[in-house]
């Protein structure tokens, strides 16, 4: 019961935001939840959000782990996804006949590239003790040029049936493929976190590396491992993004996604200076950001002003969720409740029982 309560308070922020956004959308038009069937696949506002946020969700999962263990953020995720997808595109274009196996092989090779990139960042952070933001700044500076050189030209086009299907819909399945891939990825991550000690180790390293070391957990290894996972996450995200777009644009692919990913981690109720984390919160946060973007589009905000509206929304959200305001609200609520109880006592004229129950209730609230 207590664990459930804790979890709910953790997820309070992202879920309340989501509910707020849904209410705004419903006020705008009651057809928000409408889903239509086009060529055997579901389309509508909700599937579009799930479709649009797929890369962001995958990157956010990796970012949560990195944030938790290394007490910093990886700002090179978009760039590393660009590099891995460049390798994927290069492999597929040079393979000649494109079958499901070439796509799979290309995907595996891009995952290996992701591991290499993760190892590069991870060694800098864990062995050389560079702060994560600075270590990943290196790749952010030079990465897009590397991707461009792998491509050899501006935006090679990925024109074959299989990648088209991965980017949109496989005939016979009711959902768009990126949604299914994301769900699969989330399930794999959930299983890994449930069956291994990764969560405990990452959290203990993030809370206090020296204490973790004294308890027999090597912080270097754990931080390195989280960066490897981040590399794989960016490879998967790059794979989905490039198949969605149908061409590899090394300049603009997933350009400012690190900001959104970090924001999703924060909206999910996680601390950005490491420690305890909640992947569920981060995932909900990522979907919330996509929902926010689409809500602003739906409300027909001018394209130039979208960023400003987004900023105002984030600020209001963070103010409402900030610890000071929360404590204040709690106190105010308690005061109102106790005064109400007092009035009730006066009115009913049964002093003893109700007074006791009233103090009991307020005591519970404080816990």
């Amino acid at each position: 019961m207590r664990a459930l309560k804790l979890q709910i308070s953790h997820l309070f922020l992202p879920i309340s935001v989501m509910v707020l956004l849904i209410i705004i959308n419903l006020i705008k038009g009651a057809d928000y939840f409408n889903i239509t069937l086009v060529n055997g696949a579901l389309y509508g506002n909700i599937p579009n959000i799930l479709f649009g946020a797929s890369e962001l969700v995958i990157l956010t999962i990796g970012m949560t782990l990195v944030t938790s263990a290394s007490q910093g953020q990886d700002i090179s995720i978009g760039v590393s996804a660009t590099i891995t997808s460049a390798i994927f595109v290069l492999f597929v274009l040079n393979a000649g006949q494109v079958t499901i196996f070439t796509i799979l092989a290309g995907f595996l090779i891009s995952c290996i590239a992701g591991l290499v990139i993760g190892a590069f960042n991870g060694i800098l952070v864990s062995v050389f003790k560079v702060q994560p933001m600075i270590a990943t700044l290196i790749l952010l500076t030079g990465g897009r040029s590397i991707a461009f050189m792998i491509d050899g030209k501006l935006s090679p086009i990925l024109a074959n049936d299989i990648s088209n299907q991965i980017g949109t819909v496989i005939p016979g399945l009711p959902l768009q493929t990126p949604i299914i891939l994301t769900a699969l990825f989330i399930v794999i991550v959930a299983v890994v976190l449930k069956t291994t000690n990764l969560r405990l180790y990452a959290e203990s390293v993030g809370i206090n590396p020296s204490a973790a070391r004294l308890n027999g957990i090597d912080p270097k290894k754990i931080i390195f491992l989280t960066f490897l996972i981040m590399g794989v996450c960016s490879a998967v995200a790059g794979f989905i993004a490039v198949n969605k777009a149908g061409r590899h644009d090394s300049v603009n692919l997933l350009k400012f996604i690190m900001m959104d990913a970090i924001l999703a981690v924060a909206i999910g109720g996680n601390s950005l200076i490491g420690g305890k984390f909640s992947i569920t919160g981060s995932i909900i946060g990522a979907y919330t950001i996509e929902m926010l973007n689409r809500t602003l589009l739906r409300l027909e905000v001018e394209t130039e002003a979208i960023k400003a509206f987004k900023a105002v929304f984030i600020i209001i959200l963070m103010v409402v969720a900030s610890p000071v305001v929360r404590v204040f609200a709690k106190k105010a609520l308690d005061q109102i409740r106790s005064s109400l109880a007092g009035i009730a006592v006066k009115l009913t004229g049964a002093p003893k029982d109700t007074a006791v129950s009233g103090t009991d209730a307020s005591g519970k609230k404080e816990n």
Binding site: V130, I134, A135, T141, V319
Partner: protein, 366 residues
């Protein structure tokens, strides 16, 4: 004996000073290297001054960011705020009622407004600085695009006069091919940089506020127990940072003379990198304000050198990334070697090297 030992203990450099000295040494070495490899261009004093002339806004921004980082926070909105200031000033100057002083006031006002808003949210409502300043970045970007979308070239005569105004140093300069002496020129922005560096370095080194910032960044809990008003100190760091971003925006439009959406885009990342190269740590509590200009110059000289070498544009980014990599690794190796020498002090006395023993004595007695 006692006084001698105390001076010896004092001589041990703090980590931030060590990082600062590494950055300074590397800057000098790289400049010497570039003089040797490209004597034609780098020997001229004008090349050195141009580093300042063209990048004064970045240096000013880095100064403000350094204060925030020493206080344990981070501000990634500065680049966007600077861009917003340039566009707002350009729009004001092109309109009917614009004036130079009005533009200056507007620049400072926008900077301070962003500083106040972000500082209040971070210090008093205890929201994570990254998120608040990220929202600030979005807000400034959105306001910039709502304000005006197309580039504006300011054509007011008094502003153009200010833009083209150069301070000429008659006794420094080079002769061109026709043997005509060309004196060096400095933009007014450089004066602003020098004044601000001096002012803020003094503020952080000797004022009560500066010491409070170091204490808060090092450990806000113990700073609070010492009776420091932590919230107000953090709040003020963000206000100063916003102010410097505003000044940087004004200096930016003073050098380029046009408002543009792309102005100062991505400067926040550059500023963070330069602050760290200059010896300020992201964790807070450590840093040297003089490191800010040195860090900027080190970062810039890398780019200048690559440009002078005439490398293909794609390799430019990769090589600057590689040099950054080498630099960061070097910093880290030096820091860890230093920690190791400290660690050796725990060895039994008969294993110790004589100078190490000396230092330990100094430490215990001092």
């Amino acid at each position: 004996m006692g006084t001698l030992n105390i001076t010896k203990a004092k001589k041990r450099l703090s980590n931030s000073n060590l990082l600062f000295i590494i950055a300074a040494v590397i800057f000098v070495l790289m400049y010497l290297f570039s003089i040797i490899s490209f004597p034609g261009s780098f020997m001229q004093f004008q090349t050195f001054f141009d580093l300042f002339n063209l990048n004064a806004p970045l240096i000013i921004m880095t100064l403000g960011l350094c204060i925030v980082m020493i206080g344990g926070g981070i501000d990634i909105s500065i680049g966007a705020v600077c861009g917003l200031v340039t566009m707002a000033c350009a729009v004001l100057l092109e309109s009917e009622m614009g004036s130079l002083w009005g533009a200056l006031l507007l620049a400072l006002g926008i900077g301070i407004a962003f500083g106040l808003l972000q500082g209040y949210l971070i210090a008093y409502l205890e929201i994570q600085p990254f998120i608040v300043t990220l929202a600030g970045l979005f807000l400034a970007n959105g306001l910039l695009t709502t304000l005006h979308k197309d580039p504006i070239n300011v054509t007011r005569p008094d502003f153009v006069a200010l833009r083209d105004f150069d301070i000429v140093i008659p006794w420094l300069g080079t002769k061109n091919r026709l043997d005509i002496f060309i004196p060096c020129e400095i933009k007014p922005g450089v004066i602003v940089v020098v004044v601000l560096v001096a002012l803020i370095a003094v503020l952080m080194k000797w004022s009560r506020f500066g010491r409070n910032v170091y204490a808060v960044g090092g450990n806000s809990q113990s700073a609070m127990m010492l009776g420091i008003n932590v919230k107000r100190t953090v709040f003020l760091t963000y206000v100063i940072c916003g102010l410097t971003a505003g000044i940087a925006g004004f200096v930016f439009i003073m050098t380029t003379g046009a408002g543009n959406i792309g102005n100062a885009a991505g400067f926040e990342i550059k500023a963070i990198a330069s602050a760290i190269i200059g010896g300020t740590l992201l964790n807070g509590g450590v840093g040297n304000l003089l490191g800010a200009p040195i860090g900027v110059l080190t970062l810039l000289i890398i780019n200048e050198l690559i440009r002078a070498a005439g490398v293909q544009s794609n390799f430019q980014a990769i090589i600057s990334g590689l040099l950054l990599y080498l630099f960061i690794v070097l910093q880290s190796v030096i820091m860890s070697l230093r920690d190791k020498s400290k660690f050796k002090l725990a060895l039994p006395p008969w294993l110790k090297l004589p100078w190490v023993k000396d230092r330990k004595d100094a430490g215990t007695k001092g």
